[in-house]
């Protein structure tokens, strides 16, 4: 009895550790579908309304083909980590990964992705009505490596747009704002009225996205004609000065907002005008969620020279470590087929695909009043810089821009200092 108490305690520790280990045995629920195929595909993407809409399509695919498809939709902030951890360790966890153009270079360089060049030519995988020439060429280009290999199927496009309350602007005597000057006037007017323009000017990716689109509308770029970083040209400085001027007439709190907060300010009627991302617009026009559905106008971002936009895209790629590459590609091609894309846009109107034949589809445009503006923005659309050092450049610019709009830092000085630290990397 004396000695037992001691061994009981140790035994307890052992039992607890054993319990830990048994709890580790895979909590595997058997494939739920009754179909006979033993293939299970796991899809990695971010969660949210688009994922909810996609789940229905995946269920439909499972029913049609008997292939079990699991959608692993997680917090966007954790997505890249989870994808890279799994692909770099070659766990084979994912069969299809959702990838934006910003990650594509890193992934393809690391050899994470399977080239799709042969598979897109195989109609037994793509289906007979694939018709690759239907895709917007810029989309395919983004996901083609320098060596000319296509490694992802472009799927979803979005762009920052100007959103405004038509009634409120009309009541104040404004037409649709198109140029920098137009928007500055509107913003100043509403700032006087106690609100202002809602801007995604938190230190983060949105503020650099806006800058990139505005640069394009001013016929300039982060780089000069020879591809060298050139942030100190007058056109770039001018653009940042415009951002600073606009932010002075912004809604309180804008400097801490990302796309989502701007979109909510529009959705619930606090902001009469704002810059938001087309990927979030479904909520604006849903009468159950929005106070302003049907009242909003959409336009490309204000420009100095010509309307332009930023092309932001997501695509499906098949990881090199997937054990079901052909099946995975089949699913990607099905999702990117005309039928599934149409259903996707119907379920989530903010979903815009790369198929040119769908761009003008009146049935889809009916639910998506922003489609005309988005197409205009895409027509003269640029992408963010995609060089390996681009994330560092954009991070430095986000910080600098944040200082310009919150602390009133001088745009030219800020750009010069980013130019100094980043130029050698390009």
């Amino acid at each position: 009895m004396r000695r037992t108490r001691g061994s009981v305690a140790i035994g307890l520790a052992v039992v607890a550790s054993l319990a830990a280990l048994t709890a580790c045995s895979p909590g595997g629920s058997a494939p739920s579908s009754g179909a006979s195929s033993d293939v299970t595909l796991t899809v990695s993407r971010w969660s949210g309304p688009q994922a909810d809409a996609q789940q229905k399509l995946l269920d439909e695919y499972s029913k049609q083909t008997g292939v079990t498809v699991k959608m692993d939709a997680i917090d966007y902030g954790q997505l890249k980590q989870k994808q890279t951890l799994n692909m770099s360790t070659k766990t084979g966890q994912y069969d299809l990964v959702y990838v934006p153009e910003a990650w594509f270079g890193e992934y393809s360089q690391a050899g994470y992705l399977t080239p799709l060049d042969d598979m897109v030519k195989d109609t037994s995988l793509t289906g007979a009505d694939w018709n690759q020439s239907d895709f917007e060429k810029s989309g395919l280009d983004v996901y083609t490596t320098a060596a000319g290999s296509l490694q992802a199927l472009p799927y979803f496009a979005q762009t920052p747009l100007l959103v405004y309350d038509k009634d409120k602007l009309k009541a104040a005597g404004f037409d649709e704002p198109k140029t920098w000057d137009d928007v500055l006037k509107v913003a100043a007017y509403f700032k006087d009225q106690g609100s202002g323009i809602a801007l995604p000017f938190k230190q983060g990716s949105a503020i650099t996205n806006v800058m990139a689109a505005l640069l394009a509308g001013n016929n300039t770029d982060f780089f000069d004609a020879s591809g060298k970083l050139d942030l100190t040209s007058p056109a770039v400085v001018q653009t940042v000065q415009f951002m600073q001027a606009l932010s002075k007439d912004s809604l309180a709190g804008s400097n801490g907002w990302h796309w989502d907060e701007v979109n909510k300010a529009l959705q619930f009627g606090q902001a009469p005008i704002g810059i938001s991302s087309s990927g979030l617009f479904t909520a604006l026009e849903d009468p159950n969620q929005s106070n302003v559905s049907g009242k909003l106008g959409y336009a490309p971002l204000p420009y100095a020279q010509a309307p332009a936009g930023l092309l932001q895209t997501w695509a499906w790629a098949v990881p090199a470590d997937s054990k079901n590459q052909q099946e995975a590609f089949k699913l990607a091609a099905w999702l990117d087929g005309k039928q599934a894309l149409t259903e996707m846009s119907q379920a989530d109107p903010s979903f815009i695909s790369f198929r040119t034949s769908l761009a003008a589809d009146p049935a889809l445009a009916k639910n998506a009043p922003w489609l005309a503006a988005a197409n205009e923005a895409f027509k003269n659309g640029v992408t963010l810089p995609l060089q390996p050092a681009a994330p560092e450049l954009l991070d430095a610019l986000a910080t600098g821009l944040s200082g310009v709009v919150t602390n009133g830092d001088d745009p030219a000085t800020m750009l010069q200092s980013v130019q100094n630290t980043e130029a050698s990397k390009f």
Binding site: A19, A20, C24, G48, Y76, K82, Q93, D260
Partner: protein
């Protein structure tokens, strides 16, 4: 107790009441938001009166597999907490009450482990967990949570054990008790408040931890924080859903905390009642 007017007592209660408000208001906002439609959440002045809706709860529970998440979270939190309390308390006992060479070095080693930045652990731990075949199982987060909580529990329990006078142990040992008997009879009751505090704090950490619970697991082994994060992802935050999910996640751990924290002041209670 004397019933006399004392300014000290008034000040004391004023502080406690202010602190109660400070603590409760943010939580009340989360709970209220979970019963609100989005239109009632985003108003320019706080809405106190609104038509409550259960939609958020219904949606949250249909969109995400919360039943599974509850089960997984419960297993992860209880197993990792049980292991960490047992292993940590015994380690602290060994480090404080045994005349061990290098006890200080080992104790310091535990603390340095506590200082390792999480970001530098993720990749190597992922590789280790994958190599031993536990990736995608509950074993990943369990092991991670045990390790992350251990330094805290060891140090906390060392703090408590050092405060127990040696005479107490001596008395038991002279009675002929073994080390472990001395621990159970003498030390355990005295350090029970510390164990209760360590229990609550390890439990809450494990219950709420996101990074490892998301990165080391897969669809079948996700826990509650993963479910919440899927509603708050930075693409767009669904306030109603995430508030509902947060409330549903909060309730069990708060109830558990309510019962366990009673033991935290056990010593005082005993003294005060008897004294």
């Amino acid at each position: 107790m004397k019933k006399k007017f004392r300014p000290g007592a008034i000040a004391k209660w004023a502080v406690l009441i202010i602190f109660t408000f400070w603590t409760v208001v943010p939580i009340a906002i989360i709970i209220m938001n979970s019963f609100k439609k989005a239109k009632d959440i985003f108003t320019s002045s706080p809405t106190l009166f609104f038509t409550p809706t259960l939609d958020n709860y219904v949606n949250a529970f249909t969109k995400a597999d919360f039943g599974l998440y509850y089960l997984n979270s419960t297993i992860v939190a209880f197993v990792s907490t049980a292991v960490v309390i047992i292993v940590g308390t015994f380690a602290a006992y060994a480090l404080t009450s045994f005349q061990m060479k290098g006890a200080n070095t080992i104790a310091g080693g535990f603390l340095v482990a506590k200082l390792v930045p999480v970001i530098s652990m993720l990749l190597p731990l992922f590789v280790i967990i994958n190599t031993i075949g536990l990736r995608g199982t509950l074993g990943g987060p369990i092991i991670a949570h045990i390790a992350l909580n251990l330094p805290f529990v060891v140090w906390l329990m060392m703090g408590f054990l050092r405060d127990v006078p040696t005479e107490l142990q001596q008395a038991a040992m002279i009675d002929g008790a073994t080390r472990m008997q001395a621990f159970w009879r003498v030390l355990f009751p005295v350090v029970l408040p510390g164990i209760a505090a360590a229990f609550i704090l390890s439990m809450q950490y494990s219950w709420n931890e996101l990074l490892f619970s998301l990165q080391l697991t897969d669809l079948d082994t996700y826990t509650l924080p993963v479910g919440i994060a899927s509603f708050t992802g930075s693409v767009s935050v669904d306030w109603g859903l995430s508030s509902a999910a947060a409330t549903a996640t909060m309730v069990p751990i708060i109830i558990l905390g309510f019962f366990v924290q009673r033991y935290i002041a056990e010593g005082t209670t005993g003294g005060a009642v008897k004294g």
